[in-house]
């Protein structure tokens, strides 16, 4: 590598989204200090403008794809897909949180700045081509997320959530870092291309490399809340502010899957036969744990947390397939899931009211009669989570299990599909309460939803349906740029 290395201008364009996100985030922090209380309303539009600019930057970067900064960053279609996805998640999360922050008297620039920083980290994860870059991306994303989870600092639930998230998250990153050290020892590089090249030569002891891969997998498995490393998710989601839980369940998870797919399907592709059985087992365990634990939940945030664990299991099925179709299916699924889940959480945010008083499943009684439009939207989201046709969730499952059958994973497919039938039970419970029960105290005097939140809900519902009726809009792109 040249000693007098100076990045070319094109390389800066390739990290334009991250640059924009960081700049706007920093600007928000600065403005926070100098803005009087009655003008705090400008933060949300400003951060939305920042995200929109970053989205533009994502496409600008994709107009000239390639590697950057000595192969540490890669801008390909796959990275662009996930960049756009996490930025989109950020947009919806901000739209659904403005009302919440006003309700909880917690309007502040730092909330939006933290979301932007977190997205910047996820965007780095999406485009990382180097284990160290991945680590940096994870840390940027996570540290911001830890703070977000405890954003309402006077609320003990928030504190518990943030502390748990922080402790377990750092623990997981340590595993990841340990794995990176092992792989560096084995192959002499942390660059994904170099690792792949070294593994293709096959000179390294397989046991050493497999252990490294396993350690890295554990680190990522924490982030995607795969069993047996899922136990933090319900506690964190339950304690965190609802819009933050929505954000956590969609953004960081999608980014973590992006690195999982990139690392395992490209760098560790040559030793796929050693890690696919492991992922097979984890995928099944994750689906089973998530679905069966969700049945027992009475708090809707915990229920959605377990459901997000189960959905991580479905995506792991796609990873197990170890194919282009599998990675395209995972991409589609994560996009559909992000839209659906943010929408569902946004409705929960709205129904929860001040202090998240009403977040039990039973509190949703009769909401269909008091708020038919919102209940109908939540129905769309729940049907998508069940996987009923004409919703994005259905095509996501369809593509995943199709890819799995292509890869001859017949048993995993059958067990996964049966799992999704089990899952129908607990999603239906919410529908049952909403539609079949008479309204109780929790449904009375519900103020109308704010415009931003309504926009987030309707946009997610529209996206969920569009993905369910015209899935090829996303899938064609995903198939074109899928890794493998």
């Amino acid at each position: 590598m040249p000693v007098n290395y100076l990045p070319a201008a094109a390389e800066y364009v390739r990290v334009l989204p991250e640059i924009l996100l960081t700049l706007v985030g920093t600007l928000l922090m600065f403005l926070e200090a100098v803005t009087s209380d009655n003008k705090k309303g400008i933060f949300a539009p400003l951060s939305i403008a920042g995200l929109a600019a970053a989205l533009g930057g994502t496409f600008a970067a994709y107009s000239d794809p390639g590697l950057a900064f000595q192969n540490m960053v890669t801008v390909d279609g796959f990275a662009t897909f996930f960049r756009a996805l996490v930025i989109g998640v950020g947009l919806l999360a901000i739209l659904s949180s403005t009302d919440y922050l006003r309700r909880e008297n917690a309007r502040g620039g730092e909330f939006y700045a933290l979301i932007l920083f977190s997205i910047a980290g996820q965007s780095i994860m999406a485009s990382a081509n180097e284990l160290i870059t991945i680590f940096i991306g994870i840390e940027i994303s996570s540290i911001a997320s830890y703070i977000l989870a405890g954003y309402l600092r006077d609320d003990p639930r928030n504190n518990e959530s943030a502390l748990k998230y922080f402790l377990l998250g750092s623990f997981a990153t340590a595993f990841l870092l340990y794995g990176v050290a092992w792989i560096y020892g084995a192959t002499g590089s942390t660059n994904l291309i170099e690792i792949r090249r070294a593994l293709l030569n096959g000179n390294e002891p397989l046991a050493l490399v497999s252990t490294a891969a396993a350690l890295i997998f554990v680190g990522i498995a924490f982030k995607i809340s795969a069993a047996p490393f899922q136990s933090w998710a319900p506690d964190v989601y339950e304690g965190a502010p609802t819009p933050v839980a929505a954000f956590l369940s969609a953004g960081p998870k999608a980014a973590a899957f992006a690195i999982l797919i990139r690392v395992f399907l490209t760098a560790f592709g040559p030793i796929a036969s050693t890690w696919t059985p492991l992922v097979w087992g984890v995928a099944l365990a994750t689906m089973v744990v998530g679905n069966f634990a969700a049945i027992l939940q009475s708090n809707i945030k915990r229920l959605l947390a377990y459901s997000s664990i189960a959905h991580a299991g479905y995506v792991l099925v796609a990873v197990t397939a170890d194919s282009g179709a599998g990675s395209a299916a995972a991409m589609f699924y994560l996009a559909a899931y992000a839209l659906t889940n943010i929408g569902a959480f946004a409705v929960v945010t709205y129904f929860g009211r001040k202090g998240e008083k009403y977040v039990k499943v039973d509190d949703f009684a009769g909401l269909a009669q008091r708020q038919p439009a919102m209940a109908a939207m939540l129905t769309i989201f729940l049907l998508s989570l069940i996987g009923v046709p004409l919703t994005g969730g259905f095509f996501g499952k369809f593509y995943i299990f199709k890819a799995a059958l292509d890869a001859n994973l017949v048993w995993l497919t059958v067990l996964g599909l049966l799992n999704s039938a089990v899952a129908a039970y607990y999603y239906l419970r919410i529908l049952v309460v909403m539609y079949f029960r008479e309204p109780g105290e929790s449904a009375e005097n519900l103020p109308p939803a704010g415009g931003a939140l309504r926009l987030a809900v309707y946009a997610s519902a529209l996206g969920t349906l569009l993905l369910g009726i015209f899935p090829s809009w996303i899938l064609d792109f995903a198939s074109k740029v899928a890794l493998r």
């Binding site: 069940i386 009923v388 369809f398 199709k402 599909l417 129908a424 239906l428 049952v432 539609y435 899938l475």
Partner: protein
């Protein structure tokens, strides 16, 4: 855009329209739903045109458009002699279900009728889809409105029944989805006619074991829907708890999705597996016939009695299908329609009685014939149709099924005929207990006679009972022509498989083990 597309999408448009109806004026929803469903029915009568003077087999009103490029899922719909009548059954019963619910549904009226019309969309779609994927989509889509119909407007245990209904069907259908994807991976197509021609020409052949698994995956989904003994336990719950219109649509049309699937998919696509499983399936069907009838005999609840009688009647249909004879298959399809009409009518009449007396217990009635002679007469005609009295519709179907089955295996007929006898027992006994005897004070007080609206709803079904029982030729030729083709398809590839030289690999598919 053919007439069939219009018939299919009119309900969807109607559903969206009904969503816009004002909540404050429930009558707008009622009238709207009636107008939409009548328009669909009138339009669907046009589907009879190709069958007016002859009975051609094969597809009519075909539309085949790409839905998405990859995987190649197409919007491919058409009707043949088999689906024609089932579509007409759906379009006929929807306006009737609207009429039946006119007064009975008095809260959340708009949603009720919206869901009812959405259900019609799903049901028609199931019967006309010729793309396996599209079929699956409609199959699931029809599930959602029925779930809400039972869950919101049902009786006391409605939630349990609705969830059970959803989960049972869902569990069966996900495995069918796996089989559909498997077929796609082998053939590169979801198109029914394309896959069928691959199988028929022998270019696609499965090892017996694979074929059996595929058959079972489809069969499981259909058997739950039929429902075949011992998968029937969701049915009595769903029927008893559903509102009248829900029971009518469920019994008359939704159960036929299962039997239709058996004829359309299981027989031609997996002929060998279907043939080999026939004794087992027939055994279950006969068990269902006898068991359903025996349980119906001891039911104190009218709706439950009719529900169990459905289990028994649908056993006949399955038995006829798996007799693999022309008469058996004709009788089975005819019986699907008959059951739709007579059991639909029974559920309506039970619903009428419930609206008056607010009880489903047989013991709460007695002597109804005195205060409500017309109701009693209509109920009697329907009862006689249901137990298979000659000159009424069920007789034709049951006779054909028994004749076809006798040709296949005489022992089966002996047991199946028991079901016919038992059906006379439980239905006539029900009639006797509910309508004869001395009317108690409360019965004579509550049980007024049929209103004009109730007459309008039931008369079309009464006419059909007689018409289908006497002028069978108005209905049977298209069914027979199509069944002959399906039977031929389900025999042909067995023959191909048997006559192909042992060990010769079938080109383009897995090695055929025969």
């Amino acid at each position: 855009m053919t007439l069939l597309d219009t018939v299919l999408f009119l309900p969807l448009a109607g559903f969206l329209l009904l969503l816009l109806a004002p909540r404050s004026n429930p009558n707008a929803s009622r009238v709207g739903a009636l107008a939409i469903s009548l328009a669909v029915f009138v339009a669907s009568l046009g589907l009879l045109a190709p069958y007016w003077f002859s009975a051609p087999a094969g597809w009519h009103f075909e539309t085949n458009l790409p839905w998405m490029s990859y995987p190649p899922i197409r919007y491919h719909v058409a009707i043949d002699g088999l689906s024609l009548w089932l579509v007409l059954l759906s379009t006929l019963l929807t306006p009737i279900a609207v009429l039946v619910s006119w007064k009975y549904i008095d809260h959340r009226v708009k949603e009720f009728f919206a869901f009812l019309i959405l259900l019609e969309f799903g049901l028609i779609g199931v019967f006309v889809a010729l793309d396996l994927f599209l079929f699956y989509v409609f199959w699931e889509v029809s599930l959602v409105p029925m779930y809400f119909l039972i869950g919101i407007w049902g009786h006391e245990r409605r939630i349990y029944a609705a969830v059970k209904f959803f989960l049972y069907t869902m569990a069966g259908s996900v495995l069918m989805l796996a089989a559909i994807i498997f077929l796609y991976n082998k053939t590169g197509s979801f198109d029914y006619s394309e896959i069928l021609s691959l199988i028929q020409s022998g270019r696609l052949a499965f090892a017996p074991r694979t074929q059996l698994w595929l058959f079972l995956a489809f069969f499981g989904a259909f058997a739950i829907k039929v429902p075949l003994f011992p998968l029937h336990t969701w049915l009595p719950d769903a029927h008893v708890e559903a509102p009248t219109a829900g029971s009518v649509m469920l019994a008359s049309v939704m159960l036929k999705m299962g039997t239709y699937g058996l004829v359309r998919y299981c027989l031609p696509l997996f002929p060998e597996a279907a043939h080999n499983s026939a004794p087992w399936v027939a055994g279950l069907a006969i068990a269902g016939i006898v068991y359903g009838a025996l349980v119906a005999l001891v039911q104190p609840n009218m709706k439950k009695l009719v529900a169990y009688s459905s289990v028994s009647h649908l056993g006949f249909v399955v038995l006829g299908i798996f007799s693999f004879t022309q008469q058996g298959l004709d009788g089975a399809v005819y019986q699907m329609l008959n059951h739709g009409i007579s059991t639909g009518a029974l559920f309506m009449l039970v619903g009428y009685m419930y609206e008056r007396r607010h009880s489903l217990e047989i013991a709460a009635y007695g002597g109804v014939a005195t205060p409500a002679p017309n109701l009693a007469a209509v109920f009697l005609i329907t009862t006689l149709a249901s137990i298979g009295l000659p000159m009424l519709n069920n007789f034709v179907g049951e006779y054909l099924v028994l004749q076809g089955t006798a040709a296949a295996n005489f022992t089966w007929v002996v047991f199946a005929a028991l079901g016919v006898i038992l059906s006379a027992c439980y239905m006539l006994w029900l009639y006797q207990r509910a309508f004869y005897g001395k009317a108690s004070e409360s019965v004579s007080h509550h049980m007024f006679d049929l209103t004009p609206r109730e007459w309008v709803a039931i008369v079309p079904l009464l006419i059909l009972m007689v018409w289908m029982g006497t002028f069978t030729q108005s209905f049977l030729p298209p069914i027979s022509a199509q069944n002959a083709q399906i039977l031929n398809q389900s025999q042909a590839s067995v023959r191909v498989a048997q006559t192909s030289p042992a060990g010769a690999p079938a080109p383009g598919g897995e090695r055929n083990a025969r």
